[in-house]
Symmetry: C2
Subunit: 370 residues, 2 copies
C-alpha cells in the first residue's frame, strides 16, 4: 500500500484519455474497483473488501469515487480531484455507483471487480449492456509512460541485486521454504517494498511451473528454479533463474542451453510491430527444434506493470502488435515430470529503437551453487 | 498458501450440502474461483490470477474443477475427489466452465469471482440468470464446524500472546511503520503463518479507522490504536486494543471506558436467536448514551473465518438471527477527528449455551505504554 509521490495531474490526464476512448466505443460509463486499475486512474491503492469502493468514469469526463464513509478521509487525501460520494454502513453503494453511471451506452467493468458488485450493478442498471473495461484501460496501461518504465527498471534492478546474493546462499541440505524466506529478505533489503512470491522449486518440484516452496530438502545435483518478485513504488518485478547444486548432469546442461537460446529468440522476435503470438512462436520453435516442444507447457510471457501479470500476453492466438513502451516477461521453460524443470525469465520493454530492451541483467548462465 | 491437513471427506461433505441447497433454490450450478470459497469447498488455496480456475458444483452433485493445465499437478494433489478439466494456454476456459454448468436453473457465482470471468460466463450461458453464490455458501460458512472454531480459537490466542509482547514495546519517539513491523514479527513468532494487516494509528491518525501505518512519530500522551491480524492454518485473527503513551488525558479515559462498556453490551446482546442488527444497536446505544453516537462511524462487527471479513455482519439493517457456531468481531469505536481514536475488538463465537464466547482474552484496559 506504499504510495507513489502524489501527482494529481498525471491521473487526471489518464482519466481524460479514458473518457475519449469511452466515447469512441459507445461506452457510457466505466467502473473499476480497488486494485491496479484504481491505482492507475486515481492514484488510490487500497485492499479489495466487501465494502464497495468504485471509480465511475463517464464519457463526458465525469469522475466519481464511491467510498465507504469510514474510508473517506483516506480517499480524499490519496485521490484529489475526484468527486467523492460517501455511503454509510447500512446503505446500498451500488445505488450511488449506478447513479454516477446513469445515461446511455454500455457499462464497462474492471477485470478484477468482484462478482458481488458486478451483479449488484447489473441489477441497478438493468437496461445497460456490460462489457470488460480492460478493452479500454489496457490501451493505456500497455503503453507505459516514462515514469512507469523507470519504476519497472528500478524494481528489476533491485531483483537483479537480490539474485546476485541469492546465488551465494547455501542450498544443499536446506528446505525450499527456508530458502524462500531468505530470498524474501534479500528482495526487501535490496529495495523491494513488498514481496509477492518466492518460488524455490528443487529437483522434481521444478517440473511444476507454479510450485509452492515446501518442505523438500534440496540435494546435491538438484536443478533449482528460483522465480521471485514483488513491488517497489507500486511496480512489479518478476525474474527467474535456474541454478544447480554442484555438478549438473548432461541433460540439464543441454536443456538449460536450449531454454537460454529460446529466450534469445524471443528477444530477437520481440520488436515493435511484431505480433505477440509471433514472439511466442519464435521462442517455441527453438525448443521444438531441440525436441522438447511438449515440455514447454505455458505461454512465453505476460505484460507487467502495476500488476504482476497484465496485457500484453505473449501467447499463441494473440494478434496484438507490440509497440514502444510495452513491457513484458520473456520466460521460456522446459518441464521434465518427476525429474527437473528449467525456466529463465527477464522483464523487457520495447525501446525507442523498436527492440526489446532487457530490464533484468542478472547472469543467465546455469549457476553452480553450494 | 499454507495448507490444512488434507481431509477430502470434509470437503466432499460440504459440497454435498451445497448441492442440496442448490436444488432447494432452483440454482442449477454454482461457480466459485480462487479464494476462500474454493478453499472451503475443495481444500484448494491458490492466488487469484488472470488464468481461470473455477469449481463448478451442480444441483445433481457434479463437482468439476476447471484448471489451467500448468496448475493441474498442484490441483490434483491439493483437491482430490474432483473431476479435473484442464485448459491449455490458448483455450477459452469459460467454455469448459459453461459446459460443466450446462442444464437449467440459475447460475450462482462466488462473491469474489472476477468480473472478467463473470462476463465471460454470462456470454457463454446467455439464457441463464446469474445470482450471488454467497446466499448458498454463507449458509454453510457462517455456521462454523468444530475444527474451524478450534482454528479460530488458536489463531486468536496467538494474537493475544503477540499483544502481551506488543504492549511492552517502546512507543514514544518511534514511527508508526516501525512499530507495525515489530507487530508483524511478533505475530509470526507467536504462531501466525501470514500477517494480513498491522494498523498503528497514533494520535490524530486514530480517528481514521483504516489508517495505514505511516511515518508519524509517536509522542507522549498519544492514544495509539493497534489493530492487527493474519492467519494460521488458513483461519483469520483480528484484534484491536488502544494504548496510551504515558498519562492519558481525562477525555481519553472517559471515551475508552465508554467503548469498553459498549463492547460489553455487544457481548451481552450477542445471543443465539438475537438479530445481528440488534447486537449492533445494543452496543451503539451505550455510545449514544455517552454522547458520542456520531463518532461511532462503522458497524459493530463482521464475521470471520477463512476470510477476515465475511458473513454475518453485525450492522443496522441485517435481520439475520445469530446461531450456534457463528463467529464474528465485536468492535465498537469512537473517532475524534484531529485528536484521537479508540477501538476495542475481540473475536467471539456463539457457544453451546447460546452466549457469545470470547476467543480473545488479551487485557481490555487502556494500557499505558512507554
Amino acid at each position: 500500500m506504499l504510495r507513489e509521490p502524489l501527482d494529481p495531474e498525471k491521473y487526471r490526464l489518464r482519466r481524460q484519455r479514458v473518457a475519449g476512448l469511452l466515447a469512441d466505443r459507445r461506452i457510457g460509463a466505466l467502473i473499476v474497483g480497488p486494485g491496479s486499475d484504481l491505482a492507475y486512474l486515481a492514484g488510490y491503492r487500497i485492499p479489495t473488501s466487501e465494502r464497495m469502493t468504485a471509480l465511475v468514469l463517464t464519457a463526458d469526463g465525469g469522475a466519481v469515487l464511491v467510498v465507504p464513509a469510514l474510508e473517506a478521509p483516506r480517499a480524499m487525501a490519496a485521490a484529489p480531484g475526484l468527486e467523492l460520494r460517501q455511503w454509510q454502513e447500512a446503505d446500498d453503494p451500488s445505488v450511488l455507483a449506478a447513479a454516477a453511471a446513469a445515461g446511455s451506452g454500455d457499462v464497462a467493468v474492471g477485470d478484477e471487480l468482484w462478482a458481488m458488485f458486478v451483479l449488484a450493478l447489473q441489477n441497478a442498471l438493468p437496461a445497460r449492456r456490460f462489457r470488460p473495461a480492460s478493452e479500454v484501460i489496457r490501451v493505456l496501461r500497455m503503453r507505459k509512460e516514462a515514469g512507469e518504465l523507470l519504476a519497472l527498471r528500478e524494481v528489476a534492478s533491485s531483483a537483479d541485486r537480490a539474485y546476485a546474493r541469492i546465488r551465494e546462499l547455501e542450498y544443499a541440505g536446506r528446505r525450499e521454504d527456508a530458502l524462500a524466506s531468505d530470498i524474501a529478505a534479500m528482495l526487501r533489503s535490496e529495495g523491494h517494498e513488498e514481496v509477492s512470491f518466492t518460488i524455490v522449486a528443487s529437483g522434481p518440484n521444478g517440473a511444476s511451473p507454479h510450485h509452492h516452496s515446501g518442505q523438500r530438502v534440496i540435494e546435491a545435483g538438484d536443478a533449482v528454479v528460483l522465480d521471485f518478485g514483488g513491488t517497489r513504488a507500486w511496480y512489479c518485478s518478476d525474474i527467474t533463474r535456474t541454478v544447480v547444486v554442484g555438478d549438473p548432469d548432461a541433460e540439464l546442461v543441454r536443456v538449460h542451453d536450449l531454454v537460454r537460446r529460446a529466450q534469445e529468440a524471443g528477444y530477437a522476435a520481440a520488436r515493435a510491430g511484431a505480433r505477440a503470438s509471433a514472439v511466442d512462436a519464435a521462442a517455441r520453435s527453438v525448443i521444438d527444434g531441440g525436441g522438447y516442444g511438449e515440455r514447454f507447457i505455458h505461454r512465453l510471457g505476460h505484460g507487467i506493470g502495476l500488476d504482476g501479470h497484465e496485457h500484453p500476453y505473449l501467447v499463441s492466438g494473440n494478434d496484438l502488435a507490440l509497440e514502444l513502451g510495452m513491457a513484458f516477461s520473456i520466460e521460456p521453460g522446459i518441464y521434465m515430470p518427476g525429474r527437473f524443470g528449467v525456466r529463465i525469465e527477464d522483464i523487457a520493454a520495447i525501446g525507442p529503437d523498436g527492440r526489446a530492451e532487457p530490464f533484468n541483467h542478472a547472469d543467465h548462465a546455469l549457476a553452480t551453487v553450494r
